[in-house]
Amino acid sequence: MPVLDHVEIYEVFARHRREEPLRHVGTVTAPNVEMARLYARVIYDEDMWDAMVVVPRAAMVPVEPRYGGSSRRSGGE
């Protein structure tokens, strides 16, 4: 659909209280960061957030697991 050109996925993080870490609460798909902020605000508004941020998924830099990642987590020590 033409109006869906150039959309990006944004990861949404939020916390309830200032002393808490930001936690992943979901994603939104939006054409730019302004709309991503707006969409996150209305979609994830069930709680009173102290802070909410959106991050373009493309801007997230993966870090390779030091000890083999998921295979180690599932297998234990």
């Binding site: 659909m1 033409p2 109006v3 869906l4 959309v7 939104v28 798909t29 939006a30 054409p31 730019n32 302004e34 709309m35 707006l38 969409y39 605000r41 209305v42 979609i43 508004d45």
Partner: protein
């Protein structure tokens, strides 16, 4: 409780009642029109945001009808107590046929209503001032939503032309809604509103100018047809 009307002349009271009634009813109609697209937006995110805007508009309407009760000094027992026929701007009296038209109304009409609401946030009439501040905060997101979608849709020449055609009609109706030159001057003088009709029109015009330009419209050429102005209902009578 102190009398909120102290120091406000009779003509100012009736003008304010008409203005609040028009604002309340048109926000209700706008919410109803938004709701018809709240399950039909081009993306799920767009639909959810529009649902929130629907709630905002209906909520604002309810708050304003509550203010109208205070203004009249007569409690309402339900929606049937309010005369609703006649106040609705013609653009809001029928469903929007396209998403692009909805965006045009958001950009060019929702913003006109907000321009008036903003002028009430500094009102010396406290019942009005208290009710309008939260509305302005919520309307910021409506403006952002409208401008972002308009910018995207207007990139396509065919869509831009269709939007320009409907925008001209909505813009003209919105420009008239503030009232003829000199209107609202008593409210401005009494400090109930922060602007009279001409100042509101100018603020609105500055607000929507970028959107007009994005649609290749030359707003200086638009003349408000005051011969169609209906002062009783604060709107233009339907044209030919």
């Amino acid at each position: 409780m102190s009398d909120p009307w102290v120091g406000i002349e009779e003509d100012g009271r009736s003008t304010l009642q008409a203005l609040v009634h028009s604002l309340a009813e048109n926000k209700k109609l706008l919410g109803r029109r938004y709701s018809e697209w709240a399950v039909g937006g081009p993306t799920l995110e767009a639909a959810i945001a529009l649902s929130a805007m629907t709630q905002d508009e209906l909520g604002h309407s309810r708050v304003l009808y509550g203010l109208l009760e205070e203004l009249r000094g007569v409690p309402a027992t339900g929606d049937a107590d309010w005369q609703v026929e006649g106040w609705g701007l013609s653009v809001l009296t029928r469903p929007f046929e396209t998403w692009a038209h909805l965006i045009v109304v958001t950009v060019f009409l929702d913003s006109a209503l907000t321009t008036l609401v903003e002028a009430a946030t500094t009102s010396v009439f406290l019942p009005l001032q208290r009710r309008t501040r939260k509305m302005v905060e919520e309307e910021r997101y409506h403006a952002l939503y409208g401008s972002q979608w308009l910018e995207r849709l207007a990139r396509r020449p065919q869509v831009r032309r269709a939007m320009a055609e409907s925008a001209l009609q909505v813009f003209t109706e919105a420009m008239a809604w503030f009232g003829p030159p000199g209107d609202l001057t008593p409210l401005r003088a009494a400090g109930i509103l922060g602007a009279d009709a001409d100042e509101l029109r100018d603020r609105y015009f500055q607000r929507v100018r970028p959107a007009l330009e994005a649609l290749d419209l030359r707003p200086e050429a638009v003349a408000v047809p005051w011969d169609r102005w209906d002062p009783a209902w604060r709107r233009l009578r339907p044209g030919d």
